[in-house]
Symmetry: C2
């Protein structure tokens, strides 16, 4: 009773899908050199141009990095990425703002309704909450809490000390690649806790950023809420 629908997708789309699956499944690991265009073309019985188009789509989606003369490598978070990618804070001169972390604290608990909704969890699911302060110019500019499904990140507690660069741990320890984020921004007044941590008066206007991070198969794996008191720094969004 199979529908027996012919797969009419273009060849390069099929090849692309097959290559994505190799990265998603971990058959091709972060940082690994993948076969060259001719080898992939031969394997899928297509021309080099078609294989090239499939690989190009991987590169456009940041799943691989191509280097002329060297080869094509599965994307891997680099020290620069870890600090800058997905971070949209800039100072007045237009330079990216870099943060260091402080007072990191990892706790576990039952997911709230909001957390279940953001991460697509069912009732009773347990989550990990990773709270920290983010510092620039010796001032606490941001306080944030990242929420993760416990079932997705077992034994994360053992790594609590090294949890500086979260997405790097996701990739290297759990094989989970964050490919895109959505951030929802609003303005709120500081509550008592935020005011204390940021060193401002209660009610001070803060930028509230609610981020959802998605994996390669587009499922939410992290829900992060930040409250920001930005002195000389702003959030930058580009639209085309």
């Amino acid at each position: 009773m199979s529908p027996r629908k012919a797969d009419t997708r273009p060849l390069y789309v099929k090849v692309h899908a097959a290559l994505v699956e190799r990265i998603r499944s971990g058959q091709w690991k972060a940082g690994q050199l993948i076969p060259n265009e001719f080898e992939i073309a031969a394997e899928f019985k297509v021309s080099q141009g078609t294989a090239r188009k499939a690989i190009g789509a991987l590169a456009a989606a940041n799943l691989v990095v191509r280097h002329q003369g060297r080869g094509t490598y599965v994307y891997e978070h680099t020290p620069d990425d870890i600090v800058f990618r997905f971070i949209n804070f800039f100072d007045a001169s237009g330079a990216r703002a870099a943060f260091t972390n402080r007072n990191a604290k990892l706790t576990a608990g039952k997911a709230t309704a909001a957390e279940r909704h953001a991460l697509g969890l069912s009732k009773g699911a347990r989550v990990l909450r990773f709270a920290r302060q983010r510092i620039a110019n010796r001032k606490v500019l941001v306080i944030e809490t990242a929420v993760l499904a416990k079932v997705v990140f077992p034994n994360l507690g053992d790594l609590a000390d090294t949890l500086d660069t979260l997405y790097d741990v996701f990739q290297k320890t759990y094989g989970i690649l964050v490919t895109r984020t959505e951030e929802r921004l609003t303005a709120v007044g500081a509550d008592a806790r935020a005011a204390a941590e940021l060193g401002v008066a209660v009610g001070t206007p803060l930028l509230r950023i609610e981020r959802t991070a998605f994996t390669i198969d587009d499922r939410p794996v992290e829900w992060r809420v930040s409250h920001c008191h930005l002195k000389g720094v702003h959030y930058l969004a580009r639209t085309r």
Copy 2:
């Protein structure tokens, strides 16, 4: 004394640059059908594949729209674009928020230092300021002022009544196409004027959005400052 540097750029880049110039200069106008791939290939003495790659880059930059079976058309703001493109407000259900305008007011004056910096103007330059309130669900959620260089938009005052869809006027009346925007977001407390217009208390946290709009040759043509009191609406930014 010409440097006589050989132009080593790939063919498709040269063709692409030539086509961009035709759109920038107005030789090809908004909404116009452009020649097909083979005609462009013949004109530049390249193969169809190379012409195709050049046109593809135009499409990727939103300068043209391609329709299989119909042809390739120079990009033109559509009713939907006018309302939604470059607008990043969404409601809780994930739907785009649409606004209507009210109390629009156009004034002229000498550019302030901040306005000169944002628009790249020299001292003494004159600007037009277009202020308005933006309404959703019968509530004023946003007040904003758009600043334009007077020399770029002569006689804009005559159009004050029809200034609802600003970028559409830029394109249709002045041949200026907005291709991208940058928005800087911070949180501020409502001042007396904002509080009055938005119907909130002084000091209420507002989202402040400072937008610079760029043309096809990447020069700033509009500087817009908005103050937003977002009830049930948020600003959405996507990062890859």
